[in-house]
């Protein structure tokens, strides 16, 4: 997160402004405003998962953030993805093995390059370099593929990224800004 281009900030849509306009109360914004979830995940949470051990869970949590890094999303969003992976591993031994072996491979690649485990590599760009070296593996593709649904099909994420979603039950967007663009 330290590594990203600060000039990006100038481009970032103003979330608070958006949320005000779209009528999403801060209290109603779910996990993103919950202080507890903004803290680093606790060992208690990691240990509560069934198939993956605490070390694997922490590695996957770091990895999921590195694959689709959104600074505006809380850890809670990524924790949900890891919970989904854990549930899949609990159901299917092949998935369990894919994930466990993948984490081992990831750590081996990290030690090979930086002499430490993946989560201990401090710079995001260094971790990304490790991931790039594993991009074609079934493990990486499983994580990346599952994350598309795990992140972008999550209504809590829609609120943050500015997608208002279903509209039929609200009468469509006819009276809710379908043609309200004013800057052209």
């Amino acid at each position: 997160m330290k590594d990203h281009d600060p000039s990006d900030e100038a481009m970032r849509p103003d979330r608070r402004e958006f949320m005000k306009k779209s009528g999403v109360a801060v209290a109603g914004a779910g996990v993103m405003s919950t202080t507890a979830l903004l803290a680093t995940p606790t060992d208690a949470w990691a240990q509560a998962l069934t198939a993956l051990d605490a070390g694997e869970v922490k590695t996957l949590l770091r990895m999921t953030r590195d694959v689709y890094p959104h600074d505006g999303l809380s850890d809670g969003i990524y924790m949900k993805v890891v919970e989904m992976l854990d549930a899949a591993a609990a159901k299917d031994p092949a998935t369990d093995k894919l994930l466990s072996d993948g984490v081992k491979e990831l750590n081996a690649a990290a030690r090979n390059r930086f002499k430490k485990d993946y989560t201990a590599v401090a710079k995001e760009s260094d971790r990304v370099a490790i991931l790039q070296s594993m991009e074609s593996t079934a493990f990486f593709q499983k994580i990346r593929g599952d994350m598309i649904a795990g992140i972008y099909n999550n209504p809590d994420v829609w609120k943050v990224l500015g997608y208002e979603g279903p509209s039929a039950h609200l009468g469509g967007y006819l009276k809710r800004g379908f043609d309200d663009i004013a800057w052209l």
Binding site: H4, D8, M11, R12, P13, F18, D66, V67, Y68, P69, H70, G72, V128, R144, I148, A149, I151, Y152, N153, V157, W158, L161, G162, Y163, E164, G165, P166, S167, A168, H169, G171, G172, Y173, L174, R176, G177, F178, D179, D180, I181, W183, L184
Partner: protein
């Protein structure tokens, strides 16, 4: 009231598939008083079943039976098991379609004459002209309530359209508007007007968008001459010793094979399943598949030159609000070889929700470049580029001997290689699309590769000469008199336009022909 026919009733016309072609044809035949059985592989969902949820509705209505792919097209890499994005439900892909309703141009019906010989392309002129089809286009537009025709006002432009229109004006384009859309801009034919819901691809919750599901099919059923049988997957067409077809075997809801006898059979399962069914119906008499003496069944598979441009602006757009495709620039649809390719393309607004844009914007992309775009989703505008692709004999639907479906039948393999003309057109279209958005201040543009094919065409093509294609100008197979093809697989060439209006016009025309031939005891 809906009719009910016996399996042994050999007086019925059996139509396979209930989309734009099959649904329209079955309805028309029934209204003319002809006993008609409509077999549909999928379920019968109704409007309340549609969900404003991209993934959940995709899983509910899409054709997800196994298929395989090959060739150098990008879809084979990104979506190897899903060559096409089409529907398995009563109403077929008229549930998913966006509503764009354009007539194929006169010069496009004469593709070979207009474009000349193009290396590697199996171009032909259609055996019909625009003038011959015009009366049926008139009827189709009236039936479907197409905006911009019959005095029906065009839809209001949404934010995504306004960006497109502003860019088009800056580019010096002259022909742009909210399209000829079969979506009610005012209440019509018992259905309400568009509520700008978005989610046109997920089934229209207001019923403003035309679909055979709630327009043609109920009207056919009301005639008392149409039985719709959902969850009935046609697996083989059978014939007698003289080579006339006599019925259709289909798997019912429980997977049990039934045989519906028939006087006439019309195949409208979309351009992948229709040739697959003919090939899977091979017999001792027709060793290479039914109606395939030409060897053309499955060949010349076309899917339109497609691609999308998405642009990120520094201000909000909210492209997903409102009608998905109500916006078009037609200036590039002309044939103008000075651009470096034959044929033309349309630029049409398109938006995807966050769940789908993340999957389709640049499949496989990850990291900060990707999340930069997703963080600016609300500032995005998008367009679809859709143009004529070259027919090639080697682009082909074949049976995959190594992969079987739930009924033990070989699935379709869809092979497609881009023709150099397709590539040149796509490059041009990407450039123009990016320039259009940059002219109104786009900060970044994305050249999004093709989605799984929605416009599947040409695999049972129409030809004057029986050697060159599978069906004649009426969609009647050259080889078997009482066997018809009634979907987009009849298309001789792809043309630049979205195909649904032409499929409906051809179905209306075919219904007249079948009725006359039956009355004259020719069928």
């Amino acid at each position: 009231m809906a009719a009910k026919y016996n399996l042994t009733d050999d007086k019925v016309v059996v139509v396979i598939g209930s989309g734009a072609g099959g649904g329209t044809l079955a309805s028309e035949l029934a209204i003319k008083g002809i006993d008609t059985v409509l077999l549909e592989a999928g379920n019968r969902w109704e409007i309340p079943d549609f969900e404003n949820d991209e993934w959940s509705n995709f899983v509910k209505i899409s054709w997800l039976d196994p298929r395989s792919t090959s060739g150098n097209w990008r879809v084979a890499k990104d979506f190897s098991g899903l060559p096409a994005w089409i529907v398995r439900a009563v109403g077929g892909s008229t549930i998913h379609w966006a509503g764009a309703s354009l007539r194929i141009e006169d010069h496009e019906f004469k593709a070979k004459t207009t474009y000349g010989d193009i290396a590697g392309a199996s171009l032909l002129d259609w055996p019909i002209t625009r003038a011959e089809l015009d009366p049926y286009y008139d009827r189709a537009e009236k039936k479907m309530g197409t905006t911009g025709t019959n005095g029906i006002p065009r839809l209001p432009g949404n934010n995504n359209y306004k960006v497109l229109a502003a860019g088009a004006a800056k580019m010096g384009y002259k022909n742009f508007h909210t399209g000829n859309m079969s979506i009610n801009s005012q209440p019509r034919d018992g259905r309400g007007s568009c509520q700008q819901i978005g989610f046109c691809f997920q089934g229209c919750k207001s019923g403003a968008k035309w679909s055979t599901l709630y327009e043609a099919i109920p009207k056919g059923e009301a005639s008392g001459k149409l039985e719709v049988r959902p969850n009935s997957m046609a697996v083989r067409i059978v014939h007698d010793a003289k080579g006339k077809v006599t019925g259709v075997e289909y798997a019912d809801k429980s997977g049990k094979i039934q045989l519906q006898k028939a006087r006439v059979v019309c195949v409208a399962g979309n351009s992948i399943e229709s040739p697959r069914l003919l090939l899977n119906s091979a017999s001792n008499m027709f060793k290479d598949g039914l109606a395939n003496s030409s060897g053309q069944v499955g060949r010349n598979y076309m899917r339109h030159m497609t691609g999308s441009v998405y642009a990120v602006f520094d201000r909000e757009v909210h492209m997903y609000r409102g009608t998905t495709m109500a916006g078009i620039v037609t200036d590039e649809s002309r044939h103008d070889p000075s651009r470096g390719f034959a044929g033309g393309y349309e630029m049409e607004t398109l938006s995807l929700g966050l769940p789908f844009i993340s999957a389709f914007l640049e499949p496989g992309m990850w990291g900060r470049d990707f999340t930069w775009a997703m963080d600016r989703y609300e500032n995005m505008a998008g367009m679809w580029l859709v143009g004529e692709d070259m027919p090639q004999a080697s682009n082909r639907v074949t049976l995959n001997p190594n992969l079987k479906d739930a009924y033990g039948l070989p699935v379709a393999n869809v092979h497609f290689d881009d023709h150099p003309n397709d590539i040149a057109m796509r490059e041009h279209a990407y450039q123009q699309g990016c320039a259009l958005y940059e002219s109104v201040g786009a900060v970044k543009t994305y050249k999004t590769p093709p989605y799984p094919s929605t416009h599947n065409l040409g695999t049972n093509r129409m030809s004057e000469n029986p050697r060159d294609g599978v069906v004649n100008k009426w969609g009647q197979t050259h080889d078997v008199k009482n066997l018809f093809v009634s979907d987009g697989s009849q298309f001789t060439t792809g043309a630049a336009e979205n195909p649904t209006l032409t499929i409906v016009a051809l179905a209306l025309r075919q219904a007249d022909y079948i009725a006359k031939q039956m009355a004259a005891k020719e069928l």
